[in-house]
């Protein structure tokens, strides 16, 4: 009997026969495997539920009337179904304007940041020059320094903005750039925006893993540095660039720190959301004409609704581009 025939006849046997043949080992193994998979299921289900539960909770709360919030019987399915919360929350963060602004700013900022970071990442990955180690250490430093450390002086820096004293010479005044969007665009062009060090790092790792043959062939055929970059290397790096762009967009969409510091006067969804409870108070006061304190439950309900409105676009993006998000991290994090 050949080996494969033995296997075939072995497979035809019943479970208990096989168990007998193995001396009870098979039964033990199967039980062990089942136990592990059940425990694993319970653990993972619990943890996934823990992560998703707040979102589910927000969804159910956002459809409740104020009456339902105080009703101890109502836990997750609202008794009086309403969409008024959505209308109110949308009005409070002036949804249309805020979404448009946020969308434009996130899009342009993300595009600018990723364009610059790609250039820099490519420079770090593919060229040898003196001081490269030093500058790369500086990139790591940028990742490490919390932007809050330099916030106070950046604040003043842009309040009395000047390039080498030129504006002061011409107009006699320094420029007040606070409240305008320009500083943030300037910072993004200089790779100092939100988490830009991380993007440089990720893009560099990706470029380093592309084999150099193609590039060398292009050089031999007389292709210049820039042309090689744009026509040969850039198309190959498309996956990492799209995922970095998505990260930049999503993080910019929800960012509070830079938005509050530079874009304070523009209506954005993120800053609108962080102020929503205050604006609810102002709104109710305007309607009633008297200063009233809003109940904690109701303000939280509106907050939950506002949060939902804001994260819906992100969740949609994530659903479609989940692979890009996850794989960019796993392809770049591995080699230090």
């Amino acid at each position: 009997m050949t080996n494969s025939e033995a296997m075939a006849s072995y497979k035809k046997m019943g479970f208990w026969e096989r168990n007998k043949l193995s001396g009870g080992y098979l039964l033990k193994k199967v039980i062990g495997e089942k136990a592990v998979s059940i425990i694993r299921f319970i653990l993972l289900f619990g943890m996934c539920f823990m992560i998703i539960q707040p979102i589910l909770n927000k969804i159910s709360v956002s459809f409740m009337t104020e009456q339902d919030l105080y009703n101890p019987v109502v836990i997750s399915i609202p008794e009086h179904f309403t969409t008024a919360n959505y209308r109110l929350a949308a009005e409070l963060i002036s949804l249309k304007e805020a979404v448009l602004n946020s969308f434009l700013i996130s899009l342009t900022i993300a595009a600018l940041q990723i364009a610059v970071c790609t250039l820099v990442g490519y420079g770090f990955a593919r060229f040898e020059f003196p001081g490269k180690k030093f500058w790369f250490a500086m990139v790591l430093l940028v990742i490490l320094i919390p932007p809050q450390t330099i916030a106070s002086s950046l604040h003043l820096h842009f309040r009395y903005f000047d390039v080498l004293g030129i504006f002061k010479l011409i107009t006699g005044e320094t420029l007040n750039l606070r409240g305008s969007k320009l500083p943030y665009y300037l910072m993004s062009a200089g790779c100092m925006g939100l988490k830009n060090g991380l993007y440089i790092y990720m893009i560099r790792q990706y470029f380093r893993n592309i084999p150099g043959d193609l590039e060398e062939a292009a050089y031999v055929d007389g292709c210049g540095t820039l042309k090689t970059f744009f026509t040969i290397m850039l198309p190959q790096a498309r996956p990492i660039i799209t995922s970095c762009f998505l990260f930049a967009f999503v993080w910019q969409w929800t960012d509070g720190f830079y938005s509050r510091m530079f874009l304070g006067s523009t209506k954005l969804v993120s800053t609108g959301l962080s102020r929503i409870v205050d604006s609810l108070g102002a709104y109710i006061q305007r309607i009633n004409g008297v200063k009233t304190t809003i109940s904690v439950a109701y303000s939280n309900c509106i907050l939950a609704t506002g949060t939902l409105i804001i994260i819906v676009p992100i969740i949609v993006i994530y659903l479609f581009a989940q692979r890009e998000f996850v794989e960019s991290i796993s392809s770049t994090g591995i080699k230090m």
Binding site: R40, F129, I145, P146, S152, S153, L156, G256, I315, G333
Partner: protein, 302 residues
Amino acid sequence: MSKQKNKLAGLQKRKAISGYLFISPFIIGFLVFLVKPLFESLYMSFCNVDLSAGKITKTLAGLENFKFAFRVDPEYTRLLVEELSRMMVYSLAIIVFSFFVALILNQKFKGRALVRAIFFLPVILSSGVIIGLESNNQLMASLAQTIEQTTEGVSVTAALEDILRTAGVGVRAYEQVFEVIDNIYDVALASGIQIIIFLSGLQTISSSMYEAADIEGCTKWESLWKITFPMISSLFLVNWIYTVVDFCMRSDNQVIEKIQKVMIDQQQYGNASAMSWIYFVLVLAFVGITSYFISKRVYYYD
């Protein structure tokens, strides 16, 4: 021969120049928007900054601001100590948690992609303003309270906690652990990227190693410590640094809130700079020391 050498040097030079051109945006941005403000804020931390009449006047005041931060300000020292100890405990918890989850997710089972997607979801969702809002959600807190009251005595962790307390050994340590377990939600939220990094590390370990160990009679537990752990030990360093940095930059960080309050509401730029420098130096020292110790233990396969 020498001509060729010269030419090579020329090519290298050209490459070096184009390399510098490629990274020039970073260099400019770094000098203008980071180095300059950094030194300015360092200088300001030694100054009295006065913003009246539309002009900044800085007068040197020595260590006045630092003294203020440590001695006069009622909250700062307390917040600093609290935040740093929280950082240590939570970073450890996040590393352990994400390693554990990555080990589970590395096994083959149905719906793995879905679970991975869910664990990564917080990276996208709980960024920026949303995390700050989440942490003071009173509706959720009151809900949790009612649940705790109605299910009094049923909770497994509470029972376990009682048993361990009565044992009387290392009560402080247990309390830390239980605090982390109570806040497992925060830990899970903060460990999305770490899980993915560990997971991708685990997938690069060749299965032949495990097979060899299996044939030699190694149990799963032994091969976890003798194979898996050393093989991905370099990722512990990466994840540790990322976790600590991520933790100290979170917007619900109390020290940072305090600094923002001092800077924007009270307009005391000097004090705010001093406070943020103290915090930054402490965090950097923490990262440096711990990663030095971790990197001594890291095992590099190749």
